[in-house]
Symmetry: C2
Subunit: 249 residues, 2 copies
């Protein structure tokens, strides 16, 4: 008989994928993927579903988005950070929390976030993460057994800072319970530890915050940097993202 | 007449490419690329050329490497961190500093480093960076006008920590003189600032150091983490890497 220590116990694995261009390096089958697009798709989805939107359908193309209009959906999305002409909603979380979205279904297409969701489809389960629901995501993952991939949507396949910081926040909170063998998780965690006292401030020099600054998105950045404003976990079921309360298991 | 300030002056651009899988996102034409494979190809090349190796030819395949034997080259390389059977040298910098390498030509193939050199070929100039010649690299870049891409060779297309730290070290030293608009350069710089007091210690948890630990590479890691042991800049000229003294312009 010997004492079981941490090394003997097989721990779940956690990996961080820093860009959609690197996702082929990660096996997704059988795993839970957390899709991360802090500025702003996954923050919008979280804010919307937490405040009354019934469901959100992510689609890849503008054409596909428009085909949902006749089904009574609100049509939402952006390209290059700007609302698509003729759409009901853009990509600001405030759009999704507005009174006219209550009880509605929304179809959304974005430059990076919805594409990352599509690339995650081989996974066993796909959930949507943002600073707005950080603790809910962590608790949900703690109730599961599967290996975890934190999938940063990035910006047009480039590494980005805000998604990486969020991946680092999740990695930091799960550090005692998971095995992390990839340097991306190590880097994400280190960067989060540097940024944790002031996420929005740390992001001031990041490329996407500068881009949004030019598009008058400063309020969005402040809002999307808030931790634990909501306690839902958005989960992809079929082709719909629905809200889920993690404490209900 | 107005005073020229920093904002008016067009500054050179510096980008960091975190993985060979992301290199297509960077335009290399007309730029200087610094190829970085700290553990261990670019450290070996630097150490060898600084201590008497005449030239080093990087090639992609084992077959191509062997074809150089009849031309009198020492044959060097690794796959998956291990010396290739029958080769004269592996991928430890100590191999390249040995007496039998003095005045010799070496042909080298490695898992990541030589592949990154091949992918850099569209660039105007390709130089080889490592902690061992950090200041020489920085001074060389300061004497040039071209935009800069710091190209991390990574590990089989994955992000890795040691190459990113070195990119961060260069970015930090050039911060006042270049424009950095990509989040990868921001992240690399932040990580370097955290690691700078003890590079080898910081790398203890990284995936490649663990891998080398299993392959008895601890001495190599210590050596490859030393800053400014040599003052040469290895430069690719044709298909050969030759040593260059930066102070001579």
């Amino acid at each position: 008989m010997y004492k079981l220590n941490k090394k003997d116990k097989k721990m779940r694995n956690l990996e961080v994928c820093l860009s959609p261009a690197l996702v082929d390096l990660h096996e997704l089958e059988g795993k839970i993927v957390v899709v991360i697009d802090i500025l702003r798709a996954t923050s919008c989805i979280t804010a919307g579903l937490a405040t009354g939107v019934e469901k959100i359908v992510p689609v890849a193309t503008i054409e596909e988005t428009l085909s949902y209009r006749q089904k009574g959906f609100l049509v939402a999305g952006e390209r290059n950070g700007k609302k698509i002409e003729g759409f009901d909603l853009g990509n600001s979380p405030f759009n999704y929390m507005a009174r006219e979205c209550q009880g509605k279904s929304v179809v959304i297409t974005t430059t990076n976030g919805t594409q990352a969701i599509k690339k995650s489809l081989p996974a066993k389960e796909i959930i949507i993460g943002s600073f707005l629901n950080l603790s809910a995501i962590v608790k949900y993952l703690q109730h599961k057994q599967e290996d975890i991939v934190l999938f940063c949507a990035g910006w047009k396949n480039r590494f980005n800072m805000e998604d990486t910081l969020f991946a680092g926040a999740v990695a930091e909170q799960l550090a005692q319970e998971v095995e992390m063998n990839c340097d991306a998780s190590l880097a994400a965690r280190q960067l989060f530890l540097q940024a944790r006292e002031d996420i929005a401030g740390f992001l001031q020099n990041s490329s996407h915050v500068k881009r949004l600054g030019r598009l008058n998105g400063a309020e969005d950045v402040q809002f999307c940097s808030k931790i634990d404003k909501f306690d839902i976990v958005p989960i992809l079921q079929g082709n719909e993202i629905l809200p889920h309360l993690p404490y209900k298991g």
